[in-house]
């Protein structure tokens, strides 16, 4: 427990087996992240949490903490890379915030705000991704999917249902539903499932509750995501698997 590494000049203690991200959050230091969720095994796909470790870039969510590491996170070089990653995600999907139920509670949007992303910069791809509104209680809007696999992980590891999966490679990679028809209505997903709570963006939505929280009262209207991620960090210690600070509940 006496071991520490340096994060932006501060000494961060860690326990054996912790990653740089886990130790940083536990010690009250925020590192921007999107596909990382304290209750799940790190995925390392979004790269938002990239930091400089002893001068080389690494994803802090998968990088094991080691004594004496020199980690640089809140520096313009890293924040500029993060800004570009967020811009690429916005350009790749159809993220039309003004009509999205998740607006104000969306991690991608909140990271954009925090990093002062004012334009996607790149050429928007405007992909054609039809909705799946087949389920009576749940809507899937694939336009906003960022392929973080949190729903895939939650459905298989917590719910034991394997409702979601990723299919294809490269730019054709997409979120799919595990049913012969490919439709959500033919799965056993339920509103109380963990998979319903973990989407950082607005893909998996319960029907008939949209826009229930007025603008100004939504989660990231109140405080920036950098000031709130630390509230989520104790989830690590919550072995019950309950998640009362997930999206949509301020």
């Amino acid at each position: 427990m006496s071991d520490t590494f340096q994060l932006d000049g501060a000494a961060v203690p860690f326990e054996a087996g912790q990653t740089v991200m886990q130790a940083a959050l536990a010690a009250g230091h925020y590192i921007p992240h999107l596909c990382y969720h304290p209750e799940f095994k790190p995925h390392g796909s979004c790269k938002l949490c990239t930091v400089k470790v002893n001068g080389r870039t690494a994803a802090s969510c998968t990088m094991p903490a080691e004594a004496g590491l020199n980690v640089e996170s809140d520096i313009e070089e890293m924040n500029s890379l993060r800004r570009t990653l967020v811009q690429m995600l916005f350009a790749e999907g159809n993220h039309f915030c003004p009509s999205c139920e998740k607006s104000g509670n969306c991690m991608l949007q909140a990271l954009g705000y925090d990093l002062e992303v004012r334009t996607a910069g790149f050429r928007h791809m405007y992909p054609d991704r039809p909705l799946d509104a087949s389920h009576p209680d749940i809507l899937l809007d694939f336009n906003r999917c960022i392929l973080c696999e949190l729903c895939v992980r939650a459905s298989s590891e917590v719910d034991g249902k394997n409702v979601f999966g990723l299919s294809g490679r490269g730019i054709t990679k997409q979120l799919i539903v595990n049913a012969a028809s490919g439709l959500l209505k033919d799965t056993d997903i339920a509103l109380k499932d963990k998979a319903m709570q973990v989407c950082p963006v607005g893909v998996i939505l319960p029907k008939r509750v949209g826009f229930s929280i007025p603008i100004g009262k939504r989660r990231y209207d109140q405080r920036p995501i950098s000031a709130q991620a630390l509230d989520d960090a104790p989830r690590q210690a919550d072995a019950s698997g309950s998640c009362d600070v997930c999206e949509g509940t301020p």
Binding site: F96, C97, C100, E116, T119, H124, Y126
Partner: protein, 179 residues
């Protein structure tokens, strides 16, 4: 300031909501008007843009006329600002981008239930729609972006006063919004 900054504004494929938000700076319009004067704008009804310091464009590019106006602004404005979701991402009009334009027009003007003797408008005065709706930065260089649908009056005020004061404009939490 000895000389007032000249500002031009226009709405392309937009709803004038961002112009309404500009007016939402309320009584701050008076100190603003000590610093700027308007050139081409819906507020002045001047039809063409002369040399300006700042151009303010809401709305994306959805037809041929939009492209001409955008070029006129870029040619005449030292600083060009894209304001609002539509100018920055294509916004609501761009929600047709994954559809074929021909089938959109056919459905709206020919096959929509309840339509009788419909026809696709072809008056030569109507600007031709583009195949896809584009954000401004895909057509000309844009210097600054103020996101929001619309951005709040406070965001516009902060941005303009920073810019006029010669500072790098910053919005910060609560002022930078995409919805």
């Amino acid at each position: 300031m000895s000389k007032k900054l000249r500002v031009a504004t226009t709405s392309l494929a937009g709803c004038f909501g961002c112009h309404m938000s500009l007016l939402d700076i309320d009584e701050r319009l008076f100190p603003l008007l000590d610093l700027i004067e308007f050139d081409r704008s819906p507020l002045t009804d001047i039809k063409h843009c002369g040399p300006c310091d700042i151009g303010f464009i809401e709305g994306g590019i959805c037809n041929a006329e939009n492209v001409h106006v955008l070029y006129e602004f870029r040619k005449n404005c030292k600083i060009l600002i894209a304001i609002g979701s539509c100018a920055i991402t294509g916004g609501l009009p761009a929600q047709r981008n994954h559809l074929d334009l021909g089938s959109c027009l056919t459905e709206v003007y020919l096959t929509e239930p309840g339509l009788e003797h419909g026809h696709i408008p072809n008056d030569p005065e109507l600007p031709l729609p583009l195949d896809k709706v584009h954000p401004l930065h895909e057509v000309v260089k844009i210097d600054y972006f103020i996101p929001g649908c619309p951005p709040s009056g406070d965001a516009i005020w902060k941005f303009l006063t920073d810019l006029i004061a010669g500072k790098t404009p910053e919005l910060g939490h609560g002022l930078i919004e995409y919805d």
